[in-house]
Amino acid sequence: MQFPIYHIPFAGDGMTIGFNAVVHVVLSHGIAIGALGMVVLSDWIDQAESGRTAEAWESYRKSLLKFCVLVVTTAGAITGVGIWFTTTTLAPRGIASMLRIFFWAWFVEWIVFVLELVGLLVLYFLWDRLAGDRRRYRRLLGLGYVLLSGFTAVIITGIIAFMLTSGSWPSERSFWSAFLNPSYLPHLFTRLGLAFVIGSMVATGFAVLARRDAIMQRDALRLFGIVLGLSFLVFCGSLLAYYRSVPLGFTDSVMFSVLTSHLSQLPLLLILANLAGAAVVIALAVAAYRGSIRWSRLLVVPALAVFIGFVVEFERIREFIRGPYLMPGYMWVNGVLVSETPALMQAGMLDNHPWYQRQPVQHDALTAGAFLFSQNCSACHTIGGLNDIRRQVRGRSENGIYAIINHTHEMAGFMPPFSGTEPERRAMARFLYLLEQGRVEMESYARHMPRVGRSGP
């Protein structure tokens, strides 16, 4: 609560962080680890040292390398920093706390990033010169790069996994108790599997769509088809292990997180969609393994789209079911500490919130109610956008809203409790009631400041 509040209007915070994060995951896992991994793999496995096949392979590798380096250093790196930027603004207390718990892990991660990038640039610029009898240096450099890249995933996954299964950290408060948490390993292998699924798909796509060197296409398809099949297996298996390592109190909302209240009564739809998607991916793996250029051409783009859909689904589920926590046992999604809530219920949130007093508005019941909504609920609910709070309170009286605010965290396991006194709860209920009735206009949707002086009593 030490930070000013800013929320993304209409799209909401979660969608914004999520969109940036998914782009980053696809590029960092799929390209930086996976696709570049395929470049390195084909460099190691390549049997032909000379001749037209070898030349075709060299040409293929170089163009795939170029594409990957461009994407990684541009969008891949920036979206990674982007996760940082978005959470700084939208969940400052959470990211500030995690930076402290995992400081040295992040510091080491930085060093590894630098080495990884420098390694990649060196690999790229020396690629042509390290051909022929100096090729083994190229191979070793490539392997070193892939290991470094994978190592960044090894580090960051510990932190992400902690956000869902905090292990014994809430009581022990040590780095290792946070890092080596129950879902860490299955989560890591899910990500590594994911990386090579996307990587092998991109490599396949490059072989059959961007290139026309039929001479190496069949060999390429076979190689990447095997990688695709194996890595998809690892992905699915790890996902299962991951699911089982997450407490029931979180997994009970897995279906809802994807279906949302619009489709929550059609769970079969979700199951069928996922099975259909898996079928497409497997079909591509089979087609590639059997060297079918025609089928690979047809399937590679749909399969990639489907799998990116799986990534979106995975990240969405993981982020959603974590609710009501940002850090289990320590912090709620809205940035209030679990330990703070009982205290604030007596002492009041507004009196203890440095930024409430600093808002340049007339401090009355309406602005109080808006601010309380902003701090307690806006992590997930927008006004007038996705997950619109007005839709949630529609049809209720003011007393009805007041009553339910006290119990939403009991009814819906993914919602945190209201951290304020009874009068504060009344103020927020009044604000929400007037808002839904259309009797309050918002001056700012991002900082939730109502337009004062234009509302009815």
């Binding site: 920093v81 700084t88 420098v118 009805g400």
Partner: protein, 531 residues
């Protein structure tokens, strides 16, 4: 011993290590930022000069200036992670406050960087021809790139001036005037440095033996140093107060080095001799280091006491709230996971019992807070289908929630629970035996009075459809006889259903029979109503 145990009070890195680490990591990052930004400025400027200038054929200088853009920008980004991490841990509240105050511009940086990188790299590798198109691409890329240090400088300026935060907020996110001037001078100072460093870099790296190009780059170096003197002076004036002696001393070292470099460049131009790399690089280092050091020292002078005060505030806050935690209610669900909502009995206790009570009689702990009391669901009867609809749609006008956040599986479990434990889906209770006279009187009263709102068939009317809540559809929702009698006699608080206690008891039992028959689907009752 209870306490907040606020993680923000932890210091993961000792102060003695933090500041040097921040300084050196930032210098590394900043160095490559300078090369990136400076090369972009030079590249686009010379692109224009070559395409529309006095030359017959483009000489490709702009391509050379942008040739290493790719490498510089990658290194600038990756080195930036370190100082960002350190700033957010060492100056947490000031830095993150400033970033938040500057949103959404702060967030726009992500898009600006990706777009500008792609556009400028496109210009770098462009095919020949299409000069207008690449002019647009280059200008767009450069504008977007230059916006980024502008935003960063603004965020850092505000970070370093906590006293301006309130004014900033009051102005709706616009910089206060004095701060605006400071920002502008600082930003231009950064751009000037970028041009200087990039010009020097390209002098030695890409110009190589091209004497003509080197002379021009040297002129750029001289010009940028001169501009830096002026901008630096204005920037110094914008500080508003005289810094400590030590800071002044460090600053003077930088100024001296800049003067030395200026002299070197002028001498080189005058005598038409090449500059040698050694001295120039040393002087550049002696310019950059003191300048960055000055900046960090100025910031630390403000922020170290501010951080100390903020830590004190946090400790006070913890002390103030801790006793309330010990004596307060137990923290709701303060465990590592919320209660799993899978067992129907658990879901019922969490979602339904609050209002309807554990036995379903409508006397839950929240019941008294509601305008429309929760129904005695143990005394209601309905079909699976009706119940499912109510659970999913709620009852608008009452506080009955919409439970769409439970999936079909969870809801089916709850429905089964309601059937087995609360009896909600049981068969309708037998109609009470009433004397024929009472039944007839009940029917008459029903047609005369009740149909106004309930309609002749019990399904409501156009009038009552506008009530909040509307009356229930009596063909779909049934009651036990005693409950129906209660509602008829006492009314339903918070709704339009009044009390009919003035009717004789026997008549009321007759009405109970009517209601019962409406639910049972007695065609005779419904048939008569149409006459």
């Amino acid at each position: 011993m209870s306490g907040l145990f606020d993680v923000l009070l932890d210091q993961p890195i000792p102060e003695a290590l933090f500041r040097p680490l921040l300084f050196f990591s930032f210098m590394l990052h900043f160095f490559f930022v300078l090369l990136t930004v400076g090369s972009a400025i030079l590249g686009v400027t010379f692109y224009v000069w070559e395409q529309w200038g006095p030359h017959e054929r483009p000489r490709g200088w702009d391509r050379d200036f942008l040739s290493l853009f790719f490498v510089h920008k990658s290194l600038a980004v990756v080195f930036g992670v370190g100082p960002l991490l350190l700033m957010q841990v060492g100056n947490t509240i000031p830095f993150m406050t400033a970033a938040s105050l500057f949103s959404p511009l702060w967030l726009l940086i992500i898009v600006l960087l990706i777009a500008s990188f792609l556009l400028l790299e496109w210009v770098a590798v462009r095919p020949s021809g299409q000069r207008w198109r690449f002019l647009l691409v280059g200008l767009a890329g450069l504008t977007m790139l230059l916006a980024v240090p502008g935003i960063f400088v603004a965020v850092l300026s505000v970070t370093e001036r906590p006293a301006t935060w309130d004014e900033f907020l009051a102005l709706g996110g616009r910089l206060p005037r004095e701060l605006g001037w400071h920002w502008l001078m600082r930003y231009l100072h950064v751009l000037g440095t970028a041009i200087l460093f990039a010009a020097a870099f390209h002098y030695f790296k890409t110009a190589e033996e091209d004497q003509h190009r080197r002379r021009i780059l040297a002129a750029w170096m001289a010009g940028s140093i001169a501009a830096q003197f002026a901008l630096g002076l204005a920037l110094f004036a914008s500080l508003g107060r005289m810094p400590q002696f030590l800071i002044l001393f460090v600053l003077m070292v930088g100024v001296l080095a800049a003067s030395g470099l200026m002299a070197l460049v002028f001498r080189g131009q005058a005598s038409r001799r090449q500059l040698s790399a050694g001295p120039v690089l040393w002087l550049l280092f002696l310019i950059l280091t003191p300048m960055l050091l000055t900046r960090q020292m100025l910031r630390d002078a403000v922020l170290i006491p501010v951080n100390r005060q903020l830590e004190q505030n946090a400790a006070d806050y913890e002390r103030r709230l801790s006793p309330l935690m010990a004596t307060g209610m137990t923290s709701p669900a303060g465990l590592h996971q919320p209660t799993p909502l899978i067992e129907p009995g658990i879901i019922y206790m969490h979602s339904c019992a609050i209002c309807h009570s554990a036995v379903g009689n409508g006397l839950g702990k929240a019941a008294s807070e509601l305008d429309v009391p929760p129904e005695d669901i143990a005394a209601m009867r309905m079909s699976d289908q009706t119940l499912r609809r109510i659970l999913l749609e709620g009852i608008p006008g009452t506080s009955m929630p919409r439970f769409g956040f439970y999936t079909a599986g969870q809801l089916e479990g709850v429905i089964a629970f309601l059937r087995g434990n609360i009896g909600l889906l049981a068969a309708p209770a037998p109609a009470p035996t009433t004397a024929p006279a009472d039944s007839a009187r009940g029917l008459t009263v029903f047609y005369q009075t009740c149909t106004v709102c309930h309609g002749p068939d019990g399904r409501g009317t156009a009038l009552s459809a506008g009530f909040s809540p509307p009356p229930p559809d009596l063909t779909l929702i049934g009651f036990t006889p005693s409950r129906a009698f209660e509602v008829i006699s006492r009314g339903y608080p918070g709704t339009m259903m009044p009390s009919f206690a003035e009717l004789p008891e026997s008549t009321r039992w007759g009405l109970v029979q009517v209601v019962s028959e409406l639910y049972q689907g007695n065609e005779q009752v419904r048939g008569r109503s149409r006459q």
